[in-house]
Symmetry: C4
Subunit: 194 residues, 4 copies
């Protein structure tokens, strides 16, 4: 299997994930202000998940670019990541409809933590492939630390949801912001050595 | 990230958007004339949105063709556009089911205005990349004026919906017509300098 | 726009059409024999539409292979075809749930007639492009005749549905069979001159 | 038709199949423990089907790699496989909602048996193409034996479901495990002769 095949399939799945979430946005039967108010949180949770999945897509692209050979371990690490990403539309809908319920907030945090951990495992395999390359190793180690931090923060959002859902929401907004900002650096690096 | 990757992902998302809208066309349980009459507006709104998204796809293709390098700004401008495009199936369904409600008409106009504005921002970044090229600059400036006009018209459809929904519908039909006609010119231009 | 881009986008849309139809197959809440009996016609209509769309995909592939340049007319003829194909999941579900209602049968026939006519228009544009090539012209003329025959038969299924739905079903089964058989000849021809 | 076109279309369909299954995971209206308990089996059946379809995707990829020419027979064998794979989301949802009903368990086993048999037919065509190649013939014969075994086991799960659903579930878990383990060997072989 070539890297481009792996990437094309992953991209297909991610494109579908990002788009089908909108199917959960059901048009209210009677467009009153109350009905619109109910659509609000569903829409916000959709927007947040769109951003999170878009960031994952960009990161996944950079990650796959560094792949030397598609081993069985890499293939299944990738499928593991796609599985947890494919659950995002479900937890997003669940959160949008029950955004005041700690369980819905915790479930959302749990799936994103599992996505983050799947990314961690996938990159572990990548690091093994790039063992000789010192410059890349340093870069990977720095990304892994950030990845681990986001997993810990997402896991923290689980118990926090039962204390205050707003604290969990703060984490959900903080992590994309954290990933969004240094994206430029990563991208320029990618351009530097294609 | 290469231009072809950006285009392939965008195309995937757009292909899904254009196709999933039909899922909102629910077959009535009892196929009476009354039930068919209810499906009518939903079908018409689907047809209109299919045309609008198809035009966006063609324009997006021409736009991406002029991209020199995929900067972070371009990447996120594109994801911003895809986000507002992904909301089209929702506002389409909302319009089809409540086509006499000003709020549904206004919401449809608002999303298309946001799509148009996202196109404007994306092209702004492109213009920055093509700064030296005088011939392209002139072409882009002309497309941007037309783009801005359509955004203003779509925004106008919001207050108009509360006066007369038919005035808003006239705008919704006018803008695709406006884009549909000069398409040939654009296409021939694209063929002239590949 | 290149032929491969047109084909990739069309393939994406067709792949989604063929797959989302299964979403209409709702699992009955209580798996009794009566519930299973109700799923039966929906499943059969899904199977028939899968076959019809698969044949369209194969034919579309052969057609696009003969394209010299993607003109605006060709682009919009293709989008017109994709629109009527995207309605197939809706008419399929409608037929599966109301297979004894003449209106549902007629609507199914109407959409397939419109798909066939869209194919006819698309090939008309192609014939214009291949005007000099005598060998291709003869091949196209023969395919167009068959295409026109299938459109007429599908249109015939509309009034027939109000006489006997079984006569319409016979047409729905006959046309795929008619297309399925000479497929081998077409394919071998395609292999002969790549 | 080229092998890459066949593969791209198949991949598109498989990516959609694997992702739309999650749409059946409906968020409960009231997130109580009882509601969560009901989501449990649906989620487990989704996870199992994700694994099964992922294994099919990997095997399909290896299979298509050995294709010399896309004959009509190969094309339709492949479409036959995609049809039965496209039914997986339906039987998965049916199983998840009625996991204690023998009929739901049997239907799941039946569809996977039909998928396995479609793989068998597809590889039969491939073996015909590779008739001269002794080394590949041996490899194919070994894969076919394993394929046939899994079809027989899936068929066995049908009557077993009416004796004990747990025996059928054991088969459903056993077969992916059986396929999952020797994947590495296959993959390394693929790398050995690209």
């Amino acid at each position: 299997m070539t890297t481009s095949r792996l990437e094309a399939f992953s991209d297909g799945v991610i494109a579908i994930i990002v788009t089908i979430m909108v199917l959960e946005l059901r048009a209210p039967a009677h467009p009153t202000w109350a009905a619109r108010a109910k659509v609000g949180p569903v829409f916000l949770s959709y927007g947040l998940s769109f951003l999170v999945v878009a960031i994952m897509w960009v990161n996944h692209h950079h990650l796959v670019h560094a792949v030397h050979e598609v081993t069985a371990r890499l293939l299944w690490s990738n499928l593991n990541l796609l599985f947890w990403m494919s659950v995002v539309p479900f937890v997003t809908d669940f959160l949008g409809k029950n955004y005041r319920q700690p369980m819905a907030v915790a479930l959302y945090g749990l799936d994103l933590a599992l996505c983050g951990f799947a990314f961690y495992l996938l990159r572990m395999e990548l690091i093994r492939q790039n063992e000789g390359n010192m410059r890349m190793a340093e870069h990977h180690a720095s990304v892994q630390r950030k990845n681990l931090l986001s997993v810990i923060l997402y896991l923290l959002s689980l118990p926090l949801a039962y204390v205050s859902i707003y604290a969990s929401f703060a984490i959900f907004v903080l992590i994309p912001a954290m990933y969004f900002l240094p994206e430029k650096k990563l991208l320029s690096m990618d351009e530097g050595n294609p």
